[in-house]
Symmetry: C2
Subunit: 345 residues, 2 copies
Amino acid sequence: MENITIKDIARICGVGVSTVSRAMNNHPDINEETKEKIMQAIAEYDYVPNNSARNLKRSEAKTIAVLVKNIGNTFFTGMIQVLEEEIQAKKYTFVLQHVDEDQDEVSVALTLEKEKRLKGIIFLGGSADNPKERLDKLSVPFVLTTVHLDEKWTEYATVSVDDVLESRKIVEYLISKGHKKIALLCGSRDDTSISVLRVKGYREALENTGIEFNEDLLCYMETPDGAYSMRKGYEMMREMLERGCDFTAVYAIADNMAIGACRALREDGRNIPADCSVAGFDGMDCGRFYSPSLTTISQPADDMAKAAVKLLFDMIKKKSRARQIVFEGELIQGESVTTAPVQRA
Amino acid sequence: MENITIKDIARICGVGVSTVSRAMNNHPDINEETKEKIMQAIAEYDYVPNNSARNLKRSEAKTIAVLVKNIGNTFFTGMIQVLEEEIQAKKYTFVLQHVDEDQDEVSVALTLEKEKRLKGIIFLGGSADNPKERLDKLSVPFVLTTVHLDEKWTEYATVSVDDVLESRKIVEYLISKGHKKIALLCGSRDDTSISVLRVKGYREALENTGIEFNEDLLCYMETPDGAYSMRKGYEMMREMLERGCDFTAVYAIADNMAIGACRALREDGRNIPADCSVAGFDGMDCGRFYSPSLTTISQPADDMAKAAVKLLFDMIKKKSRARQIVFEGELIQGESVTTAPVQRA
DNA sequence: TTGTACGCGTTATCAT
DNA sequence: ATGATAACGCGTACAA
């Protein structure tokens, strides 16, 4: 009685296993009455086919996996909802796979691919420097989302914003408001993901406007725990304040961190934006509803998710080769940024 | 070359399949040299064992599944991290399974149980009125988290706060601050989950203090999309304002909704807390870092997650029967609540 | 220490 | 329309 199988159902109904299989899988060649009888027995005994055995046999499985690195990143959760809807609308099975911070997402994908007979994969987040040899091992189409690869790698499908450009955009905006000393809250020093790109944009903005880059204005994330969280932003901001850093604006490479930074600044007695302007990146609800509302770069998350699914299916249907889709971010002029105070002597 | 199997590896190495199997699974009876040779071939050909076939055969799999309903609920994401750590610390495999809003979590659990040979299940969120017959079909131990079942059902393991009590606590706090007209932002009208419990607490608080219950002060969630989101709280608050509701405080049954409500109130020209006090429930980072910081009931999410894992393992090891663990919430007196303004004529 | 052969639960092919 | 049977890829007795 422990685990009921297809054989048990067959025996109970006095039919062969293949008939049961046919009944379950809506095969054409089956008598309506026997089918009815079988379905009833299945319901009664609460029989659930063993998926492992199923996948082992099945020729095709029509499932798409979404691999998300760092599921705590609230920016992804919105996209996940959309991805799920879109994938299910295409009558495919949606599988959400969480990847640890210390796990290699490509290895996980490789395993999942064999295990689930995947038709395609969508990566959310993760490293931008995945070695080509590893990615090439994947035998099903895949789309890298939220991570903008090196320009040279045009053979992979990606959906993202131009992180360098957008980052430059918002820093130039800050500069246009008179800010010259802009503190930067970024990812870890050895980051290989979006952090380096956004830092690059920061530097480019300074160069373009002739402002000298000052390493002291940077604060790297030291520990990866709670990456891109409000708490992290708070701690990093406090650290900068404690080391007596001088700045008129703060740019955090994620909205969550920006909001954490705001609290640290306020606790230090500074008003936002009167005493210090704050800008983020992502355009999350959190920033939109924050007070003051956050100035940020809004990524069209929903459209990006839809585009990723569409691109993936185009590749599956061989209708399209891997393409790089770059979305434009929107500069949201929130209440958290104002013109820089006159330079204090 | 499409899909390499254990046989291929065996043939390549000139050994039997069982030897390859032994090499992979760290069996004792194997020559170090041959093992070395095999592992090298596995790495070279990037062989990944088919998990379906594996699970089909394996006697025990040491995996725990966490089923989360509505993965968009940011309250859960924190708990998920802790659950993962705790489960992996016990050398068990952690499987995160997302359950759709319109999916029955018990059905999903039933399927997963057969598919993955689970050792145990932790439910995050979900309905409180799961029929007993369905839950009893589960043959592995499970813990219901975040959902406080009816007192009668002491046969199931649960980890939660006492939603009714805590809800009453915060409403009584508002009342103690002089508020009598307290608007309530809650879940859908036919909710079977935490919303009914928290609404119950609201009513009890009114009764205990002799304040008349006024249906007009309630706002139910009409559509389930984006449940418990900031956006939802914003929309619901706007609706109340438009219908000219009169109140001095707002209580939203989730922090996210409270924050959304704040924006709506501000857009209506009201200052928080001067013109209107706001309280939430959950104790999420979002509220803690919000400005003004949110008055709320803080659930000890990390401790609850740890307790859930501990309880589950106790049950697996037969050390304990199903128990109901109730945590105490903490009333966080944030900046979003102040004494009620003098009654306007 | 190693290889052979069987069975896990299912679907697909072939008979009937 | 239905039933027997051969795979699917792996782990594991058992034999060698």
